[in-house]
């Protein structure tokens, strides 16, 4: 086993230790906190690079590099629960991406948060977040992954609610935690079920892991409710977790609200880490999702079996989310919320990619998206910073002149997200998704949804850039360019946004071959295969239409006053209103789920107060009543009779006692009378 595989645990533990140490720092020790967080993540980044280097060469052609050290955490009964880490290409590429993007965000934060009072605490939370995310990536055990997963939830709770004095931030933090926890409960049941079926939670364990053939055969050959294979049921439950974390419909509601956190947090949550966790989870557990029948386990079986139910669900949820969120993004006016909905939509794309094209397609979009979305969020942060905390795009405008570097990098990010061809990584990764969707055997609808989503993406990003950077500035303060500590990370991210496209073109599909343990080769012939070129052309047309139509509508928009209606609103006020209010999903939940919850709460309370409390009260009343009765009987019947008896005795004795009054003269009188009576009686008697 290589040195790095054995010590992979260091990568999350270093930032974790940094978080622990900076929790003990005082508010004034800002420099120490930032150095701890940045330093630890920098070392983690270097280690991640070592790990990446180790996985570059597959030991055997066609088999991926994979090393899995493990240790025993718990022993109960005769069995034990082992935790462990895994080093394989999927882990390595994610590690490099998260540590690198995370590092840039950390550095940027030192500038962005420079004036915040709780600077120290902020870096403590950031480091905790990074540690938890890295923990998810290296876990070779679903339980360890879940533990890290929940810690990510905690860290995002703390970061979203970082400005806790704002009630909206506190509410958003709670909403994020609870909404993701709803998904997590499904995930938790999935873990329990998987554990009870396979007896292990290790992913890879030399043939005994739950993602390996023996376990999968068992899972797929057992059926549960409605004849569904257990593997499908478990995969769907695990997917619940991914839906929550990755903000897929119907649990997407927390993600836009999470914008209450400081902007670097939004970048960290929306780009590099938290939301990617859901996609990564599906990618990691892909064998469980993919397996549809015992036959599908045989590698070279022909013909290819149809996609499993779980995979189809992933695709559909992704497709719906991609369009749904993109539609909402069209009508938003908060610069960060547009990006938030864009993220939700792009996560939908990743899910489509996982569903129709497999791990490589979904993960490639995850990696490219991480870079350009981090770039966009940090760019948005720079804009907000430069505009004195203004977030409404209608009040910006003309920033091109004031913030040239921010504009240039933002434009690169925007073009990558829109999928402008050839030079931007986003084009290649999105094109691969569209291509795979086009070839999907089940249905063409996800392809059309994805194509429509891509068009909307180009549209709303152009709209945003028109509002923010073109035309005239409308703010009261003069905007200024951000300091170097913020613009340098932007530049680096912009560079990678362009460069990354190289590793995933059809000509040299390095990324895909890396994940599957093959060697990449140059081959221009692949361009002409299976409609590759036609799909590419189609996506060029889509982008052109999206950007062109938005340009036609919005190119002059920021010349108008800030409170003017949106041009689209003028055309279709009702539709626009529906989109602006996010299809009223929050309101819908308020009257259904939350109402139900409130009713159940009241019911539980009533049950205690009225029913059980009532029964107890009835019993106690009964007891009290019985005692009252017995007292009454005692007092009125028993005592009364007794008292009367006593009284008559007393009365009679009173009469008698009157005689015995202790006065000697009375006694003498009585004796005298008695003597007289006696004497008279005797005399009377003797006479006869």
């Amino acid at each position: 086993m290589t040195w790095i595989a054995k010590n992979l645990w260091l990568i999350p533990v270093l930032p974790l230790v940094a978080a622990g140490l900076s929790a003990l720092l005082k508010q004034s020790q800002r420099r120490a906190a930032a150095s701890l967080a940045i330093g630890s993540l920098a070392i983690s980044f270097l280690l991640a690079c070592c790990a990446f280097a180790a996985t570059l060469h597959a030991p055997v052609h066609g088999e991926v590099f994979r090393q899995t050290p493990s240790f025993t955490w718990l022993q109960f009964g005769e069995s034990s629960l082992r935790l462990g880490t895994v080093l394989d290409p999927l882990t390595a590429i994610m590690l490099v991406m998260v540590t690198f993007v995370g590092l840039l965000i950390f550095i940027y934060s030192t500038g962005y948060m420079a004036h915040d009072k709780n600077f120290t605490r902020f870096f403590c939370f950031l480091a905790l977040f990074a540690a938890a995310m890295l923990g998810i990536i290296i876990s070779n055990n679903l339980l360890l992954l879940f533990i890290s997963w929940e810690l990510v939830g905690l860290a995002s709770y703390l970061l979203i609610g970082f400005w806790y004095h704002k009630p909206s931030a506190a509410a958003a933090a709670k909403k994020a935690f609870i909404t993701t926890r709803i998904g997590d409960m499904g995930f938790f049941i999935g873990i329990l079920w998987l554990y009870s079926q396979t007896g292990t939670l290790l992913f890879y364990d030399h043939g005994n892991g739950c993602l390996e053939a023996t376990a999968l055969t068992k899972l797929v050959s057992t059926t549960t409710l409605g004849g569904m294979a257990v593997s499908t049921a478990i995969a769907l439950l695990i997917f619940c977790g991914a839906i929550g974390k990755s903000g897929q419909v119907p649990l997407h509601v927390w993600l836009p609200d999470a914008m209450e956190g400081p902007t670097p947090v939004s970048a960290l949550i929306h780009a590099a880490t938290m939301v990617a966790a859901g996609v990564f989870l599906v990618a990691r557990c892909y064998p469980i999702f993919e397996v549809s029948s015992i036959a599908s386990l045989i590698r070279f079986g022909i013909p290819a079996p149809p996609p499993s139910l779980a995979i189809q669900v992933v695709t559909w949820i992704g497709a719906i989310t991609a369009v749904f969120a993109a539609l909402i993004a069209v009508a938003q006016t908060d610069i960060k919320r547009i990006l938030a909905y864009s993220t939700v939509s792009q996560l939908g794309f990743m899910m489509i990619g996982l569903g129709v094209g497999g791990v490589a397609v979904g993960m490639f979009h995850l990696i490219t998206h991480a870079f350009f979305k981090a770039l966009l969020f940090l760019g948005a942060g720079s804009v907000i910073h430069g505009c004195h905390e203004e977030q409404d795009i209608r009040r910006m405008g003309g920033l091109k002149k004031f913030m040239p570097l921010t504009f240039a990098t933002y434009a690169i990010g925007m073009m990558a997200l829109s999928g402008v061809p050839l030079f931007f990584s986003g084009f290649w990764s999105k094109d691969e998704i569209l291509h795979a969707a086009h070839n999907w055997s089940v249905s063409q609808i996800p392809f059309y949804l994805a194509a429509f989503g891509a068009l909307l993406t180009a549209f709303y990003m152009t709209r945003q850039v028109c509002y923010v950077f073109l035309g005239q500035n409308k703010s009261h303060h003069k905007p200024h360019e951000s300091p170097r500590v913020m613009t340098v990370p932007l530049t680096i991210l912009a560079a990678f946004t362009i460069l990354l496209g190289i590793i995933g073109t059809p000509v040299w599909p390095w990324f895909e071959t890396y994940l599957s343990g093959h060697h990449a080769t140059f081959d221009f012939a692949r361009l002409t295969e299976k409609e590759t070129l036609s799909t590419m052309l189609l996506s060029v047309v889509i982008v052109a239409v999206g950007i062109g139509s938005a340009w036609a509508i919005y190119s002059k928009v920021s010349l108008k006053p800030a409170d003017a209606a949106d041009p689209l609103e003028a055309i279709q006020p009702r539709v626009f209103n529906l989109l602006r209010n996010k299809f009223f999903i929050d309101e819908l939940y308020a009257v259904t789920v939350l109402r139900l919850n409130a009713v159940l709460t009241q019911f539980a309370d009533w049950l205690d107060q009225a029913v059980w409390g009532g029964i107890v009260k009835a019993f106690s009343s009964l007891a009290i009543g019985l005692s009252w009765l017995s007292r009454t009987v005692d007092e009125q019947v028993v005592n009364l009779g007794f008292n009367q008896g006593c009284e008559s005795v007393r009365d009679s004795s009173k009469a008698v006692s009157k005689i015995q009054d202790g006065k000697i003269q009375h006694y003498l009188r009585y004796i005298g009378i008695a003597l007289v009576v006696l004497a008279l009686a005797l005399i009377w008697g003797c006479r006869s």
Binding site: S79, D608, V616
Partner: protein, 516 residues
């Protein structure tokens, strides 16, 4: 001293301490608190000695003491501990001094207060070590009486009602249990728990009941079932099991916080302990017969108490209901373990039962810490502790909020803190044994998160409520008081094997006996 007297010694030390306290003169009352803390900590030495000599690999009783007492009635003084007993003694040894430390120095009548507290400690030790019904019951009641007076004399405005409710309710359960045991005694002539369990396994108990007991036209089986219900009632009230829980919120809310700490930290574990030590071994058949309704009652305990907690506006009542909810998981686990299954599913049952005992211990620490924090808050606010009475406390008292926040996350089962492991093991075991019950119970986990985060939102976040702008943060003493509890939350969250190593052999042996 390899322990022939160690258990008795440490059991009676607090009693002795309490008696010494009572002899203090009026002007020496100030010493009462420090005396009490010392006396409550002396047993810690004994418990640590027990722990160090305790052999982790052994399943049976260790350090047992046996002395004939009233031989003609089969009454012996018989104490001993296994893994379960040791863990409960450890818990008592942690929570009682923790509670005494957090008791205010200005408390009225300190001499009597602390003496009662020490009597309570003796009652707890006795309950967790006694193996003969006779003196076990004395200890069981001995813990009830001081608790009653502590609530009645030092509690909140509604204390009298709460104290009576607590006393009468639990006493009613105890009486039912006492009658059941007297009936068993009259049939078998045995008070010894272990002998009774053996008799139940061999069928001798049923035979004795058949021969010696008559009750109307009931058959022996039915009589045994009635006896089972009597004992069940005693423990179900104590834990509590839905719907016998209504005494608990009022009691915990009205008791002084330091007493609530022991009530929830240790006394609520007496009920679960009783289930494990007495009810399951002596009445396994009856338990199985009643299993389905009991399982669903456990689910109801979990779900309804979580919802009811969400409806409360008083912090103490919220935590009280949350306590019911957490012990509901214990009940769920220990009922599911009794399920007869195809194959023995030993590792699933072992997971559940280990989880139950772990949950007892961890909940003891977390819940007592939560009550301690509410007590600290109450002291500063002058008795105000409504959910909506505060706001923005993170700004004025960051350390307090940070540490209480950790306890809250421990309570909602965040992985990495102690609350998670027990719940995970319970759910892992129960899922294989009673899937639907486990699946529905996860609702409890969700609602718990909602109401606990609501506390964080309403009390700690938002703009500072100007009324409390001058609220002081934790003092040094207070930090030292809660620090051990917080440290334990991390320790047992990351290295749960510390505890599981102690209990696992006991659990395996218990399961083998239960599934004969």
């Amino acid at each position: 001293m390899s322990g022939p007297f160690l258990i008795s010694l440490l059991t009676f030390t607090p009693l002795l301490g309490g008696l010494v306290l009572l002899t203090l003169k009026r002007e020496e009352q100030k010493l009462a608190r420090i005396f009490a803390i010392i006396f409550s900590l002396i047993p810690a030495i004994g418990v640590l000695a027990l722990w160090s000599k305790f052999s982790n690999g052994e399943a049976g009783l260790q350090f047992s003491e046996r002395h004939p007492w009233i031989p003609s009635l089969g009454i012996e003084y018989f104490v001993g501990i296994d893994g379960l007993g040791l863990l409960m003694m450890l818990l008592t040894t942690i929570v009682v001094p923790f509670a005494l430390f957090s008791t205010s120095k200005e408390i009225a009548n300190p001499k009597i207060h602390f003496a009662l507290y020490l009597f309570l400690q003796t009652g707890l030790y006795g309950t967790f070590t006694a193996l003969n019904f006779f003196h076990w019951f004395i200890f069981w009641e001995l813990s009830l009486v001081p608790a009653f007076f502590l609530i009645k004399l030092w509690g909140g405005p509604e204390r009298t009602r709460a104290a009576y409710q607590f006393f009468v309710y639990t006493l009613l359960g105890s009486v039912a249990m006492l009658l059941a045991f007297l009936a068993i005694f009259s049939a078998t002539g045995v008070f010894d728990f272990i002998q009774l369990a053996d008799a139940a396994r061999s069928g001798a108990l049923a035979a004795a009941v058949e021969n010696k007991l008559t009750l109307g036209s009931f058959s022996a089986e039915q009589i045994l079932f009635i006896l089972f219900l009597g004992v069940l009632l005693g423990f179900a009230v104590k834990v509590p099991l839905f719907p016998f829980h209504t005494w608990l919120p009022a009691t915990y809310a009205e008791a002084p916080s330091s007493v609530s700490m022991t009530l929830t930290g240790v006394m609520s574990k007496m009920g679960v302990y009783g289930f494990l030590r007495i009810l399951l071994p002596i009445f396994p058949e009856q338990m199985r017969a009643a299993l389905t309704p009991l399982l669903w009652l456990a689910v109801a305990t979990i779900v309804f108490s979580a919802y009811a907690a969400y409806a409360q506006k008083d912090l103490k009542r919220i935590i009280a209901y949350s306590s019911i909810n957490h012990l509901g998981y214990c009940l769920l686990g220990l009922f599911a373990v009794m399920k007869s299954t195809e194959g023995d599913l030993l590792s699933e049952k072992a997971a559940a039962l280990n989880g139950v005992i772990l949950q007892m211990f961890n909940h003891g620490i977390t819940a007592s810490a939560l009550f301690c924090f509410v007590g600290i808050l109450e002291k500063r606010s002058g008795g105000i502790r409504g959910l909506n009475d505060f706001g923005g406390l993170r700004k004025v008292a960051p350390v307090f909020c940070g540490l209480m926040g950790i306890s809250i996350f421990s309570s909602l089962g965040l992985p990495g803190l102690n609350g998670f492991v027990g719940e995970f093991l319970i759910f892992k075991g129960v899922f294989s044994l009673a899937s639907w019950a486990a699946a529905i119970s996860t609702l409890g986990l969700l609602i718990t998160a909602i109401f606990l985060l609501t506390i964080l939102q309403k009390v700690f976040s938002g703009p500072v409520n100007q009324k409390w702008a001058g609220l002081s943060d934790l003092t040094k003493t207070e930090r030292l008081t809660v620090a051990p509890a917080i440290a334990l939350m991390f320790l047992f969250g990351i290295f749960p094997q510390f505890l599981i190593g102690i209990i696992n052999p006991t659990v395996v042996a218990m399961l083998q006996r239960l599934n004969f």
